[in-house]
Symmetry: C2
Subunit: 328 residues, 2 copies
């Protein structure tokens, strides 16, 4: 049904190789031949078969993207940035959502190898040696995860966290709680570390709870434990948790921000809707997705991209969920 290069060749009265060249290296052909071939091609509705191309050239024009959970609102903008940029570069992207299961992660990767020109691994929990092994086979870019020797694109929330601490300290808060995200998460480690550093610098008290799954429900649970502490402010690993906290605090009769201040992270939901609107560290997800693809595409070319970490800083966005510490 679908036209092949040979049919186009026959129709144009040339050989198959000429047809191939009309597409891949047009300047090798005489103008007349090229236009004749292209005419024949459009008449037949010919499109090069990417699978066949892939077999001989070894380049498929696809990239594989792996996220822990596409239903986590952090990832869709990332995916959007990536797919959009990929489309611009004439590439398609495979998407797999591993549900945080290493087995599924490995399986998805195995399915994609040899069908893709590169891999985009987002917040992956796979161990360093697996990653380096993978990267030896296939250009690989990490997102929100580092691994020695591998290029990574990172949402840098450290400065945002510093600003959050400063903001809270300026409002008289003395004790902070951090609600940890997933144990193996690079983002979580970075956020916790930044908080640790800056609370110490400011002489504030920091309690770390968790780890929790990054979900609304986990936030609900965590809120109760927050109330057990003497802390007046809580920073959550992400917005979903923060919203859960907000909701549960409301249920428990604690007023935000009068009794407790709450800070989220990522800014991926329309935060105006939460009551009170959530103060959060905003992450430039879409930009990161695009940058990751760019890095992958660049590294794929001549020089193997030296394993640079590209960081995109998040910004503290102050809304209504933070305010002066209550007097005690």
């Amino acid at each position: 049904m679908a036209a092949t290069i040979h049919e186009v060749a026959r129709r144009a009265g040339v050989s198959a190789s000429t047809v191939s060249r009309a597409f891949s290296s047009p300047d090798l052909l005489r103008e007349a031949t090229r236009t004749a071939v292209l005419a024949a091609a459009t008449e037949l509705g010919y499109t090069p078969n990417r699978v066949a191309q892939g077999l001989v050239t070894g380049r498929t024009g696809n990239i594989g993207m792996l996220v822990p959970d596409i239903a986590n609102p952090f990832f869709p903008p990332l995916v959007k940035g990536a797919t959009n940029h990929a489309l611009g570069a004439d590439m398609s992207v495979f998407l797999a959502s591993s549900d945080l299961d290493p087995t599924r992660e490995a399986r998805a990767v195995r399915q994609m190898t040899r069908q893709v020109d590169g891999l985009l691994l987002c917040s992956t929990q796979l161990p360093d040696d697996t990653l380096t092994a993978l990267a030896a086979e296939l250009p690989t870019v990490l997102v929100n995860r580092t691994c020695p020797g591998l290029p990574a694109v990172l949402v840098d929330t450290a400065s945002g966290m510093r600003d959050a601490v400063d903001h809270l300290a300026a409002h008289g808060h003395r004790g902070l709680v951090y609600l940890s995200g997933p144990a193996g998460s690079w983002s979580n480690a970075q956020r916790r570390h930044a908080l640790r550093t800056h609370t110490r610098r400011r002489g504030l008290d920091l309690t770390v709870l968790g780890p929790y799954l990054p979900s609304y429900e986990a936030g609900v649970q965590a809120a109760d434990r927050v109330l057990d502490t003497r802390a007046t402010a809580v920073v959550a690993y992400d917005d979903q948790m923060a919203l859960g906290v907000l909701s549960r605090l409301h249920e428990r009769g604690a007023s935000v921000p009068a009794d407790v201040s709450v800070v989220g992270c990522d800014d991926v939901l329309p935060m105006g809707l939460a009551r009170p609107a959530l103060t959060t560290v905003s992450a430039p997800c879409e930009v990161v997705g695009r940058a990751a693809v760019e890095l992958l595409l660049a590294g794929r070319g001549g020089a193997p991209a030296r394993p640079t970490d590209t960081r995109y800083p998040g910004q503290l966005v102050v809304r209504a969920s933070t305010g002066p510490a209550p007097r005690r």
Copy 2:
């Protein structure tokens, strides 16, 4: 670097075809040969090259999925359902987000053809004839869109809308506003039609505003126009718009549900977070995603799946944003 079938063959002392059969039709081989081949294969870390397989068999083990906007929270659960089920069936999925741009839609499809065994088109705006043409080339399943002759999986919100109308009528509401979604959307047409039917049956007044883009911002805008009408209840095309409406009504000093009742659709965000919690028609997105893949995979086999519409009903979930109509 990567082992080929020939290297395995040489190592096992058999021919390439035997290696191939060891994987694809093991019962044709003597047990001894088969185990020997498999041993050699694992030693070399051999995995069949799906691109090469695809070229000869014509089956790639991939499916292509097209959504209008992956950043719209309706789609991630859908994608999750689809990718998860696909992974179970040893298939990978291409994802493209068209940003509602027909050009990009067409382009993404073109890139994927010949690389996929089937297409999953979600809420696509492409015209019927394009779709039938596409389906002639490639097994195609529609999601939240119908087209004569094509199988479709649909979120059926009609009954949910009926329940919403009944619910509002029971609370004494006499005038309703519907905030339309995108003009070409099947879901929008279905929702509008269901509202039209059931408001008429109940003798209620229905005003249709829009079309609007399905976004928070559009909801904010729409809220002002809602206040210009005499309606006491508003049904929004989706939750994002409804949340925008909620937010703007709050700004304008209108109280929900005391002054105005608000109903959303889809139930894809943690709705507990909105104040008041949003009454909405819940859509079983993940189930639909899975069902769509199943249908595609089934149709791909022997009998071309007869173009059935599979409908999954949404359920009205009553929360705090709806209540008795104000006395006038």
